[in-house]
Symmetry: D2
Subunit: 135 residues, 4 copies
């Protein structure tokens, strides 16, 4: 089970090398996991409003080919680990033409408003578990 | 009375035209006014913690020459209008070599935590008034 | 004649005030004019590859209400002035619910690869002129 | 041998969680390695002008505590691997008060203007080798 997000590279995401600046791939990963959570029937905005944020505690990126301005980007997101307080997402980032650009994963922890780690909301955790396919 | 901020252009601030992406000049203006407020003896972070944010309600930018990666940028900030709820800052953005790159102004309004306009904190307003030189 | 672009607010576009950081509206304006140019039958990426960039020389923004994370944003872009080297775009930025958030305009100049002003490519200029509705 | 960079958190670097958005740490790592290269006696801008870019091919980040607006950030950068085409940097990101916020590493490859991998310029490679302390 996976989720696919699609969007175009913005001009401001490029740098003077003529390709997308590498930090933007973390922004794209976030679009991927947000869309996946929305497809579960909730929205990350609601989850946060109800008091639990998901804070990134680890991120890893491997860059294969550069993305360019105006490319149609496809982010494929999978849930690869769910524990009571922790969820991991794996990402494949490519173009709509099937060219693979990068892979990544991020690990996130449930966080209360005052910054302490906490369990994931039950409905979210159950939804994520249904999608989970260990990497 | 004016305040000068200085910093280097970051790589991620460039775009594929080989120059700084225009939206970043608004970020630089913010560095300018934040530094000016700090020089008044407070800090914008404290002002916000005490309950009043300054929200940008208008911005204008004129771009003359492009900034490039690694340039040393100098932002000269002046207070050009202070009213009970409103403050305007004018900016000159150039290099350390004296090349003029852009001019700008932004108008900001005091804002409560729940998003209603409010008067500027008294100490801040008095400090800004002392520096004010109408444009 | 106008063009409408739609996209969601990204998490990284918010700031600690809980709303979208103001500099991002310039990024959104660029999405608006890029989509308008694509609807003309070309693409801005191609125009730049053929040697003419469009550099922003002036920008003005008026902020009415804040955009929030996950809002569906609608940017309505119009061409309001076309001259041999210059084009102006006007923008209305709102939500899909019809709430008006901001208005803006940007003026752009044709630019050669070595940074000198030049005329707009003929096909682009003619396309823009057909859409032009002075403000 | 290591290099220390220091700068303040910008407002636009925060997100609605009230802390720095995680993608910005990659920008900070870049400031760290750019400053280290400048301390070697060259500048990354010159290296790129002479035809060799350094492209990030891998990045890893571990986030311990959040950075906040206006914090004084200290990035400590070390060279931990140098090969003919590859260099790895390790980073410790903390505050000026000694609070550790994050650790990271990035691996970069020499790249020609047309996007093929190439050897690092000799002067740069020798400078990096002098600083190299395997992790």
């Amino acid at each position: 089970m996976q989720h696919v997000s699609e969007f175009r590279v913005r001009y401001g995401e490029t740098d003077q090398m003529g390709v997308v600046y590498h930090a933007n791939y973390l922004v794209w990963c976030e679009i991927g996991r947000t869309d996946l959570i929305r497809a579960l029937g909730g929205s990350y905005a609601d989850i946060e409003r109800e008091g639990t944020a998901l804070a990134v505690v680890e991120a890893h990126l491997r860059f294969m080919r550069p993305a360019r301005y105006d490319d149609l980007i496809r982010v494929t997101t999978r849930v690869t680990e769910v524990r009571s307080r922790v969820v991991r997402f794996d990402y494949e980032i490519g173009t709509d033409q099937g060219v693979q650009l990068a892979t990544a994963y991020t690990t996130l922890v449930g966080m209360t408003r005052d910054g302490r780690s906490t369990t994931l909301p039950t409905a979210l955790r159950e939804g994520l578990e249904r999608l989970c396919t260990p990497s």
